[in-house]
């Protein structure tokens, strides 16, 4: 009962955040200049501007515009692209599966590489293996993704001709973009996992467990790792939230037909409806990632449950 109401409360909070984002998006887009002039250009005639405004409902008072905007969003109507007149949602949802595919494979790669690397480094602290992991993780998150992308293209596509340099035409096309997305995150996760493991390893209960007769592998598995998981989760949550937004550069470099590229072209062409739709989408993924982390916290850390109960 209690756990349920706790989850409900978190959900409500997430919805509240989403509403704030939606409203802020409205305010920012309305206050950043007259879209009619932006779209039509400064040499448009006053008649053209009036007509454009009327067509897009921009001549209504702001509260009405806001109400219409919210009602439309609840209806799943994010407006039509100013440029080709198609619903913005259609434009975005055509591209979304590609981005989700890339983001989820990249994310999985981050976890699969980052977590074990961090654990291994912590358990071998100060030895060669540890230094190797630390070096690679620093490299991973300090090399900019566009640089890594170009490097991969040069080596794997241009020189060795192993993988296609862009597009999404073959199953192997996703390999390089996924590596590019994963590299920075994997480095951060490895470092964070390592630090969290070291912290947990130095907790007094580790020594106490050994004193009670538990062996080392069991102590690490059953006590150190679950405790280290808690701070690591925070980091992973941040990365998860930033995945879609972070795909923009990678998608552009690899000509990956996802929303990352869509947002670049839409921003360049001042296609407000599409931009708005993508901003909301990215905000939603961040909020969802936060919510997931919050709920996982409750699962992993009994102290969190207690704090929220009180």
């Amino acid at each position: 009962m209690r756990a349920l109401s706790l989850v409900t409360r978190k959900l409500l909070r997430a919805l509240l955040t989403l509403w704030i984002v939606v409203t802020l998006t409205f305010i920012v887009l309305r206050s950043s200049g007259d879209p009619a002039i932006v779209i039509l250009g400064t040499d448009a005639t006053p008649d053209m501007i009036t007509e454009f405004r009327h067509d897009w409902g921009l001549d209504q008072p702001l509260p009405i515009q806001y109400a219409t905007y919210i009602a439309n969003i609840l209806d799943g109507d994010f407006g039509n692209s100013f440029l080709d007149g198609r619903p913005a949602l259609t434009a975005v949802s055509e591209r979304l599966p590609n981005t989700l595919k890339l983001a989820s494979i990249g994310f999985a790669l981050m976890l699969i590489v980052g977590i074990p690397a961090g654990v291994i480094a912590a358990l071998n602290r100060g030895r060669a293996l540890d230094r190797l992991v630390v070096t690679f993780s620093v490299l991973g998150h300090s090399v900019p993704s566009f640089f890594l992308a170009i490097l991969l293209i040069l080596l794997l596509s241009v020189r060795w001709r192993l993988l296609p340099s862009g597009g999404a035409n073959t199953p192997s096309s996703i390999i390089m973009p996924a590596i590019t997305i994963a590299a920075g995150g994997a480095g951060m996760i490895a470092r964070f996992t390592r630090a969290a493991m070291l912290d947990a390893l130095h907790q007094p209960f580790v020594r106490a467990m050994l004193a009670r007769g538990l062996d080392w592998p069991r102590t690490v598995r059953a006590h150190v790792m679950p405790n280290a998981a808690i701070p690591t989760l925070t980091m992973i949550g941040f990365l998860l939230g930033g995945l879609v937004a972070g795909a923009v550069i990678t998608e552009t470099v690899f000509a990956w037909p996802g929303i990352g590229r869509l947002i670049i072209t839409s921003v360049a062409r001042r296609d407000l409806a599409v931009v708005q739709c993508i901003v909301l989408l990215i905000a939603t993924t961040m909020i969802l990632a936060n919510l997931t982390v919050d709920l996982l916290y409750l699962l992993l850390d009994p102290r969190m449950r207690a704090r929220d109960k009180a």
Binding site: Q203, H223, P302
Partner: protein
């Protein structure tokens, strides 16, 4: 047969700064069923010795010597089975994300593979019952953060008992606990020893604990054994100078307390002081406030020491913070030198601060690690804009000299100083403005006994020389008996008794004071058999709402009236200059 024998045990740590010898070739033996007190100050090697026996030292430690258990060399396989161990921070020795039951179950499945799931749970509950936890079934599903330190130590003992050890290494098992809880835990260890014949090595810095509970004592210092003797012999005729000093530096509540200075006009008067903390600012519900301090009144005369004593969570530090002006009051009034310490202008507040300074518990944390000693002691002068540069330097030197620090310290940073030196520097920083009163919040509890004695002596000299008033906050009754002129005993945010120190220690009136005093381990084995009042349970949370007297649920004298009426702090029928809040003592029940 000797249970544990250590022959020429040496432990060296290989550090980047070179090799540190923590234990320098000691011989030690433990006989079956005995309680061996292993005492020494920090750095004496006593904990390292235990960890070496368990094979639990860090990787950079090198252990040599002949370590035998029942005549055979010690192996890691003995851990948790023949030899159990409990630690100083009981809660930290439990995994915070697993329930008590799951941790007990895990250890039981290790030592008792014959048990199935249900009988493991039953066995876990019975272990908890053996260590005296109320409602064992309920405790099994509790997480470590949901139980108190004392309960956590009982759980840790239960975990150690799961393997049926013949020897229990108890490394400062009660240092982190309140004195009444300490008494409960130590009595439990003695009882378990009596029931199972398990030997206990009681590692402690506290000679009082040793005097009250050990059969035999080994005194360590700088990694060497200085002296070993039966407990009564050790206290009656200590053979080594260091032991003599250690015993002498330890105050006892039976000592004559300080002379009371002739009463002057009160320098500070607190009236109905209260501080409540909001518990949760959530939007959905509001909990009752946590009443950390709930209506306390006291006064301090010039040149006088008032000690406020109580167990953790009683509100004594909150009182200190309010008097020092670091925490606002929810209600009440404090007047200092005739002026009210209410909300004032920043300038007024600053002027008052000059006369009323605070010294905090942990000098390591209270000092800025980046500033030199001279800069830190000078800072108050700069803030109050006193004197020119060279005057200030002279004042800093003189103040440091007054606390026994020479010019060597001026350019040092806190990490280059020992704990005692750091506390002297904090004291100098408080004294540099020539205040009339110091609030001392547990000023010596982070220090070793011998250093503690030096700091206490210094405080006495300074008081004499400068007619300083002290508000001395402490949990340590033995210490208080040595420094205080008057004592106020605090329980759950209220003063339950105030009296002159000598009176209070000789004949406490309030049942809580009586229990508190009887729980204090006196450094005198001859007083082992005195009546010890073991309070049931632990102090309730200050968030709990208790009608009537707050102590009644743990009080042996509780009467029907105690549940209804909150006793006022009043002079007892036959006492002058003292007050007690108890219906029974007041003759009203």
């Amino acid at each position: 047969m000797t249970l544990l024998s250590l022959g020429n045990l040496a432990v060296r740590f290989h550090t980047p700064d070179g090799v540190v010898e923590a234990v320098a070739g000691i011989d030690l033996d433990v006989q079956p069923g005995e309680i061996l007190g292993l005492v020494g100050e920090s750095g004496s090697g006593k904990s390292v010795t235990c960890l070496a026996v368990m094979g639990l030292l860090e990787a950079n430690a090198e252990t040599t010597g002949d370590l035998r258990f029942e005549g055979r060399p010690i192996t890691p396989a003995l851990r948790g089975r023949s030899i159990g161990m409990i630690f100083q921070e009981p809660r930290a020795s439990l995994d915070p994300v697993r329930t008590v039951g799951s941790q007990l179950g895990e250890i039981l499945s290790l030592h008792r593979p014959d048990l199935d799931r249900d009988s493991r749970t039953a066995e876990a509950a019975s272990l908890l019952r053996r260590v005296g936890l109320p409602g064992p079934e309920r405790q099994l599903v509790a997480y470590p953060h949901e139980i108190s330190g004392g309960m956590a130590q009982r759980v840790a003992i239960a975990l150690a008992l799961a393997g049926n050890p013949k020897l229990l290494l108890a490394d400062e098992p009660t240092t982190a606990l309140d004195v009444t809880v300490q008494a409960q835990v130590l009595e439990l260890l003695v009882r378990l020893r009596d029931e199972t014949g398990m030997a206990v090595v009681l590692v402690t810095h506290d000679l009082g604990v040793v005097a009250q509970y050990a059969d035999r004592v080994v005194v360590m210092r700088h990694g060497k054994v200085l002296e070993r003797a039966r407990v009564r012999t050790l206290f009656a005729t200590p053979a080594h100078d260091y032991t003599r000093e250690l015993i002498a530096s330890l105050p006892s509540t039976t000592e004559a307390a300080a002379e009371v200075p002739p009463a002057a006009a009160p320098l500070l008067r607190a009236t109905n002081l209260a501080r409540h903390f909001a518990q949760r600012r959530g939007f959905f519900r509001k909990s009752p406030p946590l009443r950390a301090v709930d209506g306390v009144s006291f006064h301090i005369d010039a040149g006088e020491t008032l000690a406020v004593v109580g167990e953790s969570g009683c509100g004594k530090s909150t009182i200190a913070m309010m008097v020092a002006g670091l925490l606002s009051m929810t209600a009440g009034e404090i007047t200092f030198a005739g002026q009210s310490l209410g909300p004032q202008s920043p300038a007024e507040r600053r002027a008052l601060r000059r006369d009323l300074q605070i010294v905090l518990q942990d000098p390591g944390e209270a000092l800025d690690p980046r500033l030199s000693v001279a800069a830190q002691v000078e800072e108050p002068l700069v803030i109050h804009d006193i004197g020119g540069k060279s005057d200030r330097r002279e004042t800093v030197r003189a103040t440091l000299a007054a606390v026994g620090m020479d010019n060597w310290a001026l350019d040092r940073r806190p990490h280059e100083l020992s704990g005692g030196q750091r506390q002297r520097v904090s004291l100098a920083r408080a004294l540099v403005l020539q205040p009339k009163m110091l609030v001392l919040d547990e000023p010596t509890s982070a220090l070793d006994v011998s250093i503690q004695a030096q700091v206490i002596a210094l405080l006495g000299q300074l008081q004499q020389a400068r007619n300083l008033a002290y508000l001395f906050i402490s949990h340590d009754l033995r210490l208080v008996s040595r420094v205080a002129h008057r004592v106020a005993v605090v329980y759950l945010g209220r003063i339950v008794e105030t009296a002159h120190a000598a009176r209070l220690f000789a004949a406490p009136r309030h049942p809580y004071t009586q229990a508190l005093l009887s729980a204090v381990p006196e450094p005198d084995p001859a007083r082992r058999d005195r009546l010890r009042i073991l309070l049931p349970g632990e102090p309730p949370s200050p968030a709990a709402i208790i009608t009537g007297c707050r102590f009644r649920q743990r009080c042996a004298l509780a009467q029907p009236i105690c549940a209804v009426e909150d006793p006022e702090l009043l002079p007892p029928p036959d006492g002058a200059g003292e007050q007690v809040a108890c219906h029974v003592v007041q003759g009203r029940a």
